[in-house]
């Protein structure tokens, strides 16, 4: 267990816990951001530079800000009074059960045991990603482009819809 990994994992998980537990929504989102940055750093550690930076660019630069806007637009800037969770214990129990299940699977997996401890850094050139995207995966790429367009239009329409009638 590498100390740098330990720190990163700790920050990531801790921030995630905080994000899910804090009362103030803005704080939650900020913690989520921290957690996502931590994840990006984990990607970097795994050698996926591109994925890491894309993660930061998209999540910190766009998704986090987007969520912030949503928070402010739904007047969630202030810490809500009263209950913040529904039947927390049963939910937590289910989540814990799921975790236990996954962890058990990881621990028992024979495939994982056979894997190299720390294989050599695989080459990850952006050019290769680009070739892949415009080669084999050009159809998914176009589908994603379509999806993003649809999401853009859909988002605008959904968020606007009731304004017209009011």
């Amino acid at each position: 267990m590498n100390p740098i990994f330990a720190i990163l994992a700790g920050v990531t998980v801790g921030a995630a816990v905080a994000a899910m537990a804090l009362r103030n929504l803005v704080h939650s989102v900020l913690c989520l951001t921290v957690s996502l940055v931590g994840l990006a750093l984990l990607y970097l550690r795994l050698g996926a530079e591109f994925a890491g930076f894309v993660q930061i660019l998209v999540y910190v630069g766009a998704v986090a800000i987007l969520i912030m806007f949503a928070v402010l637009l739904t007047r969630g800037g202030e810490a809500p009074p009263g209950r913040i969770a529904n039947a927390p214990w049963s939910g937590l129990a289910v989540a814990a059960a799921v975790f236990a299940m996954i962890a058990w699977a990881i621990a028992r997996s024979p495939a994982l045991r056979g894997m190299a401890k720390d294989p050599a850094q695989p080459p990850l050139s952006v050019k290769a990603i680009g070739d892949k995207l415009t080669g084999d995966l050009v159809l998914p790429l176009q589908v994603v482009a379509l999806l993003l367009t649809a999401a853009l239009v859909g988002g605008v329409v959904i968020a606007m819809s009731e304004k017209e009638t009011e």
């Binding site: 910190v60 630069g61 766009a62 402010l72 800037g77």
Partner: protein, 412 residues
């Protein structure tokens, strides 16, 4: 001359050689950090004074000209002013509003400054002189790190619990998000043509020679020229410089999202903004203006870092000149400009780059007019729409005088 060119590299290698081999990477990193932490804040300090003085000259007044070296009579034409300002900001009372979210309020300036330094670290300031050289993802790193700016703006604006701050933050984020698209798309053109995301490689690629004596800067191509203009405009907006300084428009929003900051934290914001400006200028230089390359082959003897910093100074002066010259835009105009002009233009520019690439074997006489035509036509069409849009101004709220229908309240 090569020795002068590589003097800092040699210096660093020499210094690193003193530490044990195991610690050499760390030492090298530290040295780079120190260099960046020293050089750019230094430029920042000088810039504040130069800006004040130049703005004053633009406005026919002397500007700061008193402060020199303390305790002496040497005035240095007021260039000691930055020291005075720095001391003042460090010693001023740090006021935090009572309602403020203290932690976020405290963290925000650091979230702004740290990425600014990080993004400066990937800019190659001279031949072999980039602190961090991501061979694969340099530019992506720059944009990823730059994304944190928006977060810090939000944090600052929201945590202050002040409507001016919040409005300023909202405006700032909207503006940055909007202009980030043309910014990235216009730099994507360079990535397409250079085939790499590494800023150092991009700079190196521009050391070729064309037309006999001119280095092949990207700005000397149709797509490069158009991309440069788009990038420059978007960079202006990204760094909240006039005419895009709405988030901190003093006359409307007091000081925008850092209204509630004072003392050292305010200074940090100030520093962060300027560092961001330097970084984006550095990237612009690297992407379009040949990086550390000389413009002409016969000027190659000047050291590469001098070219870079010379260009950077040029950029700074240009921004100051802009600030003194242009009026501020209105919010709707700002958004229109981003979405209805710059975004389409940068998309068209992508096409132009593609055409340019595919037409590599054609004679210049065919290739140039074709690309220019592809650019000029949308430019003409898109800007035609603007001329009318900029002229008339409608006040929407003034028209909504009729009462809202009563049934709206009775709805579910």
């Amino acid at each position: 001359m090569a020795s002068l060119d590589q003097i800092f590299v040699a210096l660093k290698d020499w210094l690193v050689a003193f530490v044990p081999v195991a610690l050499q990477p760390l030492a090298g990193a530290l040295l780079s950090i120190v260099a960046i932490m020293a050089v750019f804040p230094g430029i920042f300090a000088l810039t504040t004074v130069v800006e004040r003085k130049l703005l004053a000259r633009f406005q026919n007044r002397p500007g700061p000209n008193r402060v020199g070296i303390p305790l002496t009579k040497i005035r240095l034409a007021g260039f000691g002013q930055f020291a005075a300002d720095g001391i003042k900001s460090l010693t001023k009372e740090d006021i935090v509003p009572r309602n403020a979210d203290r932690i976020v309020h405290f963290v925000a300036p650091f979230v702004l400054v740290a990425p600014a330094f990080l993004s400066l670290s990937v800019v190659p300031v001279g031949r072999n002189m980039a602190a961090l050289d991501f061979r694969e993802t340099g530019l992506l790193f720059f944009f990823a790190v730059g994304a944190a700016t928006e977060l810090s703006v939000f944090m600052a604006g929201w945590s202050s619990r002040n409507k001016y701050s919040l409005l300023g933050a909202m405006r700032g984020i909207a503006q940055m998000l909007s202009y980030e698209l043309p910014l990235i798309l216009s730099s994507l053109v360079v990535v397409m043509m250079a085939g790499t995301l590494s800023l150092a490689t991009i700079a190196e690629r521009q050391s070729g020679v064309q037309w006999g004596v001119v280095h092949s800067w990207h700005v000397f191509t149709p797509w490069g020229f158009a991309g440069f203009l788009i990038f420059l405009t978007a960079a202006c907006a990204e760094s909240n410089r006039t005419p895009f300084d709405l988030p901190e428009a003093e006359s409307e929003l007091v000081a925008g999202y850092f209204t509630e900051y004072s003392g050292f934290k305010f200074a940090l914001f100030f520093l962060g903004e300027y560092l961001g400006m330097f970084a984006i200028s550095g990237v612009a230089i690297t992407l379009f203006l040949g990086g550390w390359n000389a413009p002409f082959t016969f000027l190659d003897w000047v050291p590469s870092w001098m070219w870079f910093f010379g260009k950077l100074v040029g950029f700074i002066l240009f921004f100051i000149w802009l600030r003194a010259t242009l009026p501020r835009l209105r919010v709707d105009q700002l958004m229109d400009l981003a979405w209805k002009f710059m975004l389409p233009m940068s998309l068209v520019n992508l096409v132009v780059a593609g055409v340019w690439h595919l037409a590599a074997s054609w004679p210049h006489l065919l290739r140039w007019p074709l690309c220019v035509a592809i650019l000029a036509l949308p430019y003409w069409l898109l800007s035609r729409g603007f001329q009318t849009r900029f002229k008339t101004r409608t006040y929407r709220f003034a028209e909504e005088s009729r009462p809202a229908p009563a049934t709206a309240a009775a709805g579910p």
